[in-house]
Amino acid sequence: MSEVEETIKRIQSHKGVSGIIIVNADGIPIRTTLDNSTTVQYSGLIHQLAAKAKSTVRDLDPQNDLTFLRIRSKKHEIMVAPDKEYLLIVIQSPNEV
């Protein structure tokens, strides 16, 4: 098992983490721990949001880049870590437990 696999596993094992989605550059989920519909919904929406966020950051300064995006909501927090080709989305509910 690769290190990243372990990492993902660790993340999943964290309390409050309800799902991990890996989305490719086209917004297509390639790995998920959630159910299908939720995954599709998350990946489609977050992908757009992340693209917009990245665009925003880079528009402000082309040499800058988006590294992380967290969306804090009442219920949970969506953490988006954009990579070159993939988007790692983790949904966590910190208030749980």
Binding site: S2, T7, I8, R10, R31, M79, D83, Y86, Q92
Partner: protein
């Protein structure tokens, strides 16, 4: 005569022979067949008209005299002869000129007086004209006989009458048909009395017919002597002009005209062309199936016979055999011509009555009837009288319509048996009728010689087209019958004038007739060409337009709808950063190209590397998001330990404000790793660059439980899992992170070896010493990086319980060592059992290098001694003292004060020492060096594993004990009691082994023997800064340092004073 020669000139040289070789003519004259002629009985006698008709046709008589008689104008005759010779090869116009020239030479006495027609004559003529405007020669002859006129006069009268008629027609607006005009020139027998008159029509006519009617060619090409040919031609001319040929060509009896003459065997033995004419006439008759024909030969018709000067009369013996059943009629011209007709159609064919009439001189009574050659063959045609013209007209039509069988009275009545009787005829290659006895006069031998070669050619079958000439009478009749209007006018007008004028001036007839004839020919040719030019003259026959309208294919649309090419809409916004990226990419590419140019050899390597990386990355998709995963993990941890993070950042113990001399430690994250749980934390070290990152080494202090070791790198951001993990085969007893190169980590192992790790490379250690290259024999208790040496090589020191302090230098890839000092015990040489002295070696456990004096360092030993050493002196200590009773676990210089250092030991105490002053005073005192006393001594009631100065203050230090407590002192606050004594370990039994202050944050990490690292936040009381520092002004580090030193000095002074005072 040139007219006759003209036509003959077309035929070839035959005529030339005729005229050029008179002996031929002579021979023909004397040929037996000719000779036989006069002997024939019952044939009609043809008088040469030359003598009798001088008054009527002077030209003819003149010519006749010239050629056939020994005229008195011999010279003229010869001259004429010569002319005719020339004319053989000259054109028509030449002949005409010749003629006109001759005519001019002729005396006017020959001029004919104008004929005055009687009323009866006119009446008869008008009647005839009503019947037909173009009477044929027989009709004309008949008329001439009846009206006591010459045939020529009748002809001219008709000519003029027609002209008049045309004129009238024209004024009435009707256009005369084209053939009429032509007929006037050609087909009509409107010849002048002289044969010269029809020379040109003959020419034109025959030049046409010869080519158009191949059926005639066999006749004309019959090789019976050149003279005969010439005569024949002339005769034909006459026949044709007499209306025979129009009949010949007609096709009124459908399908029977020429098939009616399927077999024609004609043999012309001699020059008696009239026989041929008879044959032709008979042929025409048979074709027409109307057997009423009278061939009347005018005297002009016999002009050709004037060659035969001695023959004035030709007797034709004609036998006509009629076979009504077989339909074969044979007309035999005795001695000269045999004509066989076989008529397959069982119509009655009436033998033509050939009348050879002697044109009577003026004295001949007008009523004279033609003498029949054979009474029984002669039809009672004379009765027809005026109706002679009916032959071509109504009569014919009547026959066609009624189909009445008219039998001649004298027809043989044959019985059925006779009819069925077969006549067998054997055909041989030789012509049975060919004359075998032709003789010719040979001038050479002066006697007659029989000619050996007799022509055997016979024409068995000749088929002509069933077309009729549109100008012919028959055609006209058909046309009128069908009601087709004549569509042919123009040329007629031009031609009409002349005959009219000629009619008006009939006195000049003789000469004018010649000219007219010539003109006729000229205009004929001209009109032909004009007609061709003006209107489309397809051909002269009853041409029917065969052009047909073809079907026009309807237009059809053949368009095919192709599939439209796929279209797609692209849209996109170009943002600034995208442009930036594009440029960046381009820039990188350019850089790459430059590199490639410089080192082309590396290409392959790069490729291989690329391939490798590609395969690696493609092998595991998820590995690409390692970074993202790490970030997210930290974030998740942050969320998970959000309260801790909040505490770490913001929580300040509020109770500190109320208790001045007390502080608390707030436990924060607890770093624990599953694999390291059975190992003790042997050392801790913050990363100098990343202050949230620290390294922890794991090993075992238990001699009996040695095993593998571990090295973990933790980040405060991810307390749940270490960032980097190194597992070693031996317990890691100590480590040190290079202060300037945070990725370099020096490690000391329990087995005595030292190693260097690069955190960036996870695959293992960079260097590790072995027994060969100076590893320690005992566990390495501490390693410490030094500043890079003069050659910029990384180097570090290590201390081990084997008593050696070794200086390690990394030379390229090699780890070299150098023993700095050996911890010998000078004064305590142990005695062995056998009395030998063994120099005991001090077991170094800890050392620390002076912050400012690079060479100075202090060493703590297991024996509790503290040695102050210098790198420069490897053999002796600068100072040495017994500081503790038990092993010294840690020695640390004060971060601010250069002479203060602290030690901790297993003897439960922490002691603060001052270098220099003490020793100096001690020296002066010459007192026992070991009697030196520490500035402070704190008893912690348990083995003190580690002690550390706080980085933010010169007076704060903390110590951990084996009972799991952390003691925190601030000398400036309390010199005797700790500000905080707090249980950090989770269990009481758990020994705390090490601690370390974070250089930046107010936290301290504590390691225990269970592999757990605990971070604690120092309460505000524990990290009190000098009060003046709280001001807003920026603090200069040097000022601060001085302040810290002063603060500590102040305290020390307080401490010193009592000792001095004591001392």
């Amino acid at each position: 005569m040139p007219s006759a020669y003209s036509i003959d000139s077309i035929l070839g040289k035959a005529e030339r022979k005729l005229s050029a070789i008179p002996d031929d003519v002579e021979i023909m004259r004397n040929s037996p067949s000719v000779i036989m002629c006069p002997q024939t009985s019952g044939c009609m006698s043809v008088q040469s008209p030359s003598k009798d008709s001088n008054d009527r046709s002077p030209g003819a008589s003149r010519n006749g005299e010239n050629y056939f008689d020994s005229s008195p104008e011999k010279s003229e005759n010869e001259e004429k002869h010569e002319h005719s010779h020339e004319d053989l090869n000259t054109s028509l116009s030449d002949g005409e000129n010749e003629e006109s020239g001759n005519a001019g030479n002729k005396p006017r006495k020959l001029r004919r007086s104008r004929t005055t027609f009687t009323t009866f004559q006119l009446h008869q003529l008008e009647r005839a004209f009503e019947k037909t405007q173009y009477p044929d020669v027989f009709t004309r002859e008949e008329l001439a006989l009846r009206l006591d006129l010459s045939e020529a006069r009748v002809q001219v009268w008709f000519q003029n009458r027609r002209a008049k008629w045309r004129k009238r027609e024209k004024t009435l607006g009707r256009e005369s048909p084209s053939f009429m005009q032509r007929e006037g020139g050609l087909g009509l027998p409107d010849m002048p009395p002289s044969h010269l008159g029809y020379q040109s029509p003959l020419e034109a006519y025959w030049s046409n017919r010869m080519t158009n009617l191949p059926g005639l060619n066999p006749l004309l090409s019959m090789p019976h002597g050149s003279a005969m040919l010439g005569n024949m031609a002339q005769y034909f001319n006459k026949v044709s002009s007499a209306g025979l040929f129009p009949n010949y060509f007609q096709s009124t009896a459908p399908g029977s005209s020429f098939p009616g003459i399927p077999h024609m065997y004609m043999r012309t033995g001699l020059s008696d062309i009239s026989a041929i004419a008879q044959a032709q006439a008979a042929a025409a008759l048979s074709s027409q199936l109307v057997g009423r024909f009278q061939v009347s030969e005018p005297e002009q018709g016999l002009d050709f016979r004037r060659h035969l000067t001695k023959i004035q009369q030709v007797t034709l013996d004609q036998e006509v055999a009629q076979r009504p059943g077989g339909g074969a009629k044979t007309s035999r011209l005795r001695g000269s011509c045999d004509v066989f007709f076989s008529n397959e159609i069982g119509h009655r064919i009436e033998a033509s009555t050939i009348k050879h009439t002697n044109m009577p001189p003026k004295g001949v009574p007008a009523k004279a009837k033609p003498a029949p050659v054979k009474p029984k063959a002669v039809r009672p045609k004379a009765k027809d009288g005026d109706d002679m013209t009916d032959v071509d007209g109504a009569d014919h039509d009547d026959w066609v319509n009624t189909k009445a069988l008219v039998k001649p009275d004298d027809q043989l009545e044959l019985t059925e048996q006779e009819l069925k009787e077969e006549f067998t005829r054997i055909l041989t290659a030789n012509n049975p009728h060919a004359p075998q006895n032709i003789v010719r006069y040979s001038f050479k031998e002066r006697q007659y010689k029989q000619t050996s070669s007799v022509d055997q050619l016979a024409i068995h079958f000749a088929l002509d087209g069933n077309m009729i000439h549109k100008e012919s009478d028959e055609a006209q009749r058909q046309r009128t019958k069908l009601g087709i209007p004549d569509a042919h006018v123009e040329p007629a007008v031009s031609e009409v004038g002349e005959p009219v004028s000629a009619a008006a001036d009939s006195e000049d007839r003789g000469d004018e007739a010649k000219e007219e004839a010539g003109d006729d020919a000229g205009t004929q040719a001209a009109s032909g060409s004009e007609g061709g030019g003006n209107k489309k003259l397809t051909n002269q026959f009853n041409y029917s337009e065969r052009a047909s309208q073809t079907y026009n294919n309807p237009y059809r649309e053949r368009g095919t709808a192709t599939e439209p090419p796929p279209r797609a809409v692209f849209s996109g916004n170009v943002t600034q950063w995208e442009i930036f990226d594009a440029y960046q990419e381009d820039f990188e590419k350019q850089e790459k190209n430059k590199e490639k140019k410089v080192i082309p050899g590396r290409k392959e390597e790069e490729k291989a590397r690329k391939r490798l990386t590609v395969t690696e990355t493609s092998g595991d998709d998820v590995s690409r998001i390692a970074k993202a995963a790490k970030i997210v993990e930290r974030m998740v941890n942050q969320n998970s330990y959000d309260d801790i993070a909040q505490d770490f950042k913001y929580w300040e113990d509020p109770s500190d404000e109320y208790r001045d001399n007390e502080g608390t430690l707030l436990p924060l994250w607890r770093f624990s790793f599953e694999k390291a749980k059975k190992l003790a934390v042997t050392s801790l070290c913050w990363n100098p660059k990343y202050t949230d990152l620290f390294a922890a080494s794991f090993g075992s202090y238990d001699f009996m439980k040695q095993g593998n070791g571990m090295m973990l790198f933790y980040s405060l951001k991810n307390p749940s899992f270490p960032e980097t993990i190194y597992e070693t085969d031996s317990g890691v007893m100590c480590l040190d992170v290079h202060p300037e190169h945070p990725y370099m980590v020096a490690v000391g192992f329990y087995d005595g070896s030292v190693g260097v790790y690069n955190i960036e490379k996870k695959d293992g250690h960079l260097h590790r010493c072995t027994a060969k290259n100076g590893k320690h024999t005992d566990p390495v208790w501490q390693v410490r990086w030094q500043k890079d040496d003069l050659e910029n090589n990384h180097n570090f020191f290590s201390i081990s319980s084997d008593g050696r302090i070794v200086h390690w230098t990394i030379l390229k890839n090699e780890l070299t060592y150098q023993d700095v000092i050996k911890l010998a015990m000078p004064d305590s040489a142990a005695e062995g059992p056998d009395g030998t002295k063994i120099t005991t070696i001090g077991c170094g456990t800890a050392f620390d290098f002076h912050k400012k004096n690079d060479y100075l360092f202090v060493v703590g030993t297991e024996e509790g001694k503290i040695h102050t050493c210098s790198k420069a002196y490897s053999s002796q200590f600068l100072d040495s003292m017994d500081a503790h009773n038990m092993a010294v676990y840690k020695v640390r210089w004060n971060p601010y004060h250069p002479d203060i250092y602290i030690t901790c030991s297993a003897d439960w105490t922490v002691k603060i020492w001052e270098r220099g002053n003490k020793s100096a005073s001690d020296k002066s005192d010459a007192m026992d060096a070991s009697a030196k006393k520490p500035l402070f001594t704190f008893d912690l009631n348990n083995s003190v594993g580690d002690v550390a100065w706080a980085p933010y203050s010169s007076t704060v230090f903390a110590a951990v004990t084996a009972d799991g407590k952390l003691f925190c002192y601030d000398l400036s606050v309390n010199k005797y009691e700790p500000l905080c004594e707090q249980m950090v370990a989770q269990k009481k039994k758990t020994k705390l082994t090490h601690l370390e202050f974070n250089p930046e944050h107010p936290i301290v990490i504590v390691g225990d023997e269970r592999g757990t690292v605990t971070s604690c936040k120092l309460s505000p009381n524990l990290r009190k800064q000098p009060k003046e520092k709280k001001g807003a002004q920026a603090v200069d580090p040097s000022v601060r340092e001085q302040a810290e030193i002063a603060k500590l000095d102040k305290i020390l002074l307080m401490v010193r004073d009592p000792t001095e005072n004591k001392g």
